[in-house]
Amino acid sequence: MTGTAVKVSGLTKRYGDVRAVDGIDLDIQSGEVFAILGPNGAGKSTTVEILEGYRDRDAGEVSVLGVDPGRPTRLWRSRVGIVLQTSNDTAELTVRETVRHFAGYYPRPRDPDEVIARVGLTEKAGTRVRQLSGGQRRRVDVALGVVGNPELLFLDEPTTGFDPEARRRFWDLIRDLADDGTTIVLTTHYLDEAEALAGRVAVIAQGRIVAEGEPATLGGRATAEATVSWLDGGERKVLRTGAPTGAVLELTARFGGEVPELTVTRPSLEDVYLGLIGSAPPEPRTERTVPATVAGVR
């Protein structure tokens, strides 16, 4: 699959006087895993719900799989899979009954038992949904999102409330779907999740996109000042520099080899993200007025 899956330009949505979405442009390619990050109330959910055809927009051009989601057709709905945040429906049906029933809505569904196996619920197929754990329940949601064999899958904060192991398994499942060529649009609060899954991310704050790009280079992350830290006579030293390699060479020369407890770090995605949405990243505890060279740190 090639081409554009989602194209958005100048998207605007107001609630009363509040501009929830204030001129957003997006371009998501087919086969891409695209993450949308942003704090609560930034306009992230509103944007995604407009793309999913749940909400009207006030202005802007939106095309999802070549169709305006403001006028959803049944055929278009059958090409789009949606995994919503939380739901407690079909509690009294078994996993298999639920997935089979939803498969019946679609023109070209995946095999329900295969989908159940894929989300790792084969052993729970005969169990009522009510009796599943939170993580298993979420995997039913994913099964229902993909059973129609969608070209595009929306995942809204899919791993909230998961334990670390369940999250890893969930990520594998999403990578698996992406490998099949399914385009995935993901919203999440977890920066590591975006970094692990997404090829590109967009950060939304106050209804606008404040940064967009690959997780590794977002917001100039790869070229930002690095933090060099080491131990000098029992005291922790910290240096912010644009030339960490030079600093390390200098240190190596000074210590005549191994530098005690040396670390060199670039800003994490979280640091960059917090900077972008307007909350400054927490300063390192040992931070002090930093001179320009290692020699200056005494």
Partner: protein, 276 residues
């Protein structure tokens, strides 16, 4: 259980196939849900057992027994329970637990959702009425009419009554703020309505202003229609006007079908209040 609508390869399932599939699933879920089975389904049957056993005498020295009167009244209440209460609570829960939002994101046509509800209401109501009639006949000397005339009356009272009550139920489903409050918000007025509509207390013993209130709603008229079927001419003398007023029954129930439809079309919400 076969719940898949089984469409032809590569084609969207028809509204009827999808609606039927919804109806099957709705009915399976209904009978697996303890609350629904107890409050919506078993309640009228339990009440018939209790009232029929307590009041075993005859009505004002006539040929009819009190338990026959209760059977007719509770069939009315049972039909309204299977439609009004079932949908009022059921759709409020669907709106709150994410069912409606999830379905809106699938290619399921919206009409298929309502078609599924109709299948579910009919299945529950037919079973309910069959059990009430069986209990009435076996335990409380109810005689089923042998002429086709009363059965014709039964059919149109049932159909008009269930349709009007179902539409009223769909309309009131928008009132509860959450699934948790739905049972209270829907059941309370329904219990009151049963007391003032001649289900538990004969209408002749109610003050006029209460009858004026209950006459606005379909339950009083449904019960009156069912009494005409199961108590026959001997019971007509016990009515307020000395007649079953079947023409008025038809008129009021038909008005509820029309009014209920307008109410539903103007007030139905696919989203919960949380979703704005």
């Amino acid at each position: 259980m076969s719940t898949a609508a089984a469409p032809a390869e590569g084609r969207l399932p028809s509204v009827v196939a999808a609606g039927w599939s919804r109806g099957v699933v709705e009915t399976v879920m209904f009978f697996r849900e303890r609350d629904a089975v107890v409050f919506t389904f078993a309640f009228p049957i339990i009440l018939l057992g209790i009232f029929g056993s307590i009041f075993s005498g005859t009505l004002e020295g006539g040929p009819l027994t009190v338990s026959q009167l209760y059977t007719a009244g509770l069939i009315g209440a049972g039909v309204m329970s299977a439609s009004f209460q079932n949908l009022g609570i059921g759709i409020a829960v669907d709106r709150d637990d994410g069912t409606l939002k999830r379905l809106a994101g699938t290619p399921l046509p919206r009409s298929a959702y309502f078609l599924g509800k109709i299948v579910n209401v009919l299945a529950v109501a037919v079973l309910e009425v069959a059990i009430l009639l069986a209990v009435g006949v076996v335990a409380f000397d109810l005689t089923l009419p042998s002429a086709p005339g009363p059965w014709f009356t039964f059919a149109w009272v049932f159909l008009l009554g269930i349709t009007g009550s179902a539409l009223l139920g769909i309309a009131v489903s928008s009132l509860p703020r959450s699934a948790r409050s739905a049972t209270a918000v829907i059941s309370m007025p329904f219990v009151v309505l049963q007391f003032i509509s001649g289900v538990f207390i004969p209408v002749t013993q109610l003050p006029e202003w209460l009858i004026n209130v209950s006459s606005l709603f379909p339950l009083k008229w449904m019960c009156q229609g069912f009494r005409s079927v199961f108590l026959g001419d001997a019971g007509a003398a016990l009515e307020l006007t000395g007649s079953y007023e079947l023409d008025r029954v038809a008129l009021v129930l038909a008005a509820w079908v029309a009014g209920g439809l307008v109410l539903c079309l103007t007030t139905f919400r696919w989203k919960s209040r949380r979703d704005g």
